[in-house]
Symmetry: C2
Subunit: 137 residues, 2 copies
Amino acid sequence: MPARDNYHDTVRTALEKEGWKITADPYYLGFGRDVIAIDLAAERTIAAERDNQKIAVEIKSFNNPSILHDFHAALGQYLNYQMALETNEPTRVLYLALPNTTYARILERDLIQAALKRHNVRLLVYNTEQEVIEAWT
Amino acid sequence: MPARDNYHDTVRTALEKEGWKITADPYYLGFGRDVIAIDLAAERTIAAERDNQKIAVEIKSFNNPSILHDFHAALGQYLNYQMALETNEPTRVLYLALPNTTYARILERDLIQAALKRHNVRLLVYNTEQEVIEAWT
């Protein structure tokens, strides 16, 4: 099992409060002879739609003193997981989960904002105190 | 100055043996209010061409027990630096420098091979014993 982020349980709880059912923790995916482990998989049924919404969530807290350093790693991981999901389960949507405090810091970083836009990275921003989801981007 | 990879001087020497002139070490680039530092910039004049060849080189040795973990970080860094180069100096070509031993290991990793291809990552493979460049991809 891969190393868990400090906020793993916080994100699980926040998702469950919004009606998501956690279906895998971690969520293993094969890619050729490689296996990756995404932190969480979750599903939610919306009454007005026939299909389930399915997501995969990679949880990051950006504890490194260099936020750019943490972002390089998170971006590469997101893109590699995205590639594996497209092959295995293209309808499942990948999110990078960030604490609200980290999200506030990256809003001020031009390189990070440009990279998120260029690579269509979806973010799930969670509140670490209240254990709720503040935003989906 | 950013932390230097163990093989920083090895790559410098290998480039110089092939006629490259090191023009910056590190090579700073601005992007909005952010500044990044790529390990090396180098130039070489080919007699048959009018223009100089210009490269930027980010040096990685992948010392982490998990090669995928190291690759996530290297891929994100490469793509972010590539974006900054496109804005600042689009004719300079970015390479990720890897030791020959690491290159042999990533040839066997399907996820890494697919990601290198998808994102058009250029590699410079160096021999750590002989301090020469073995391949440009």
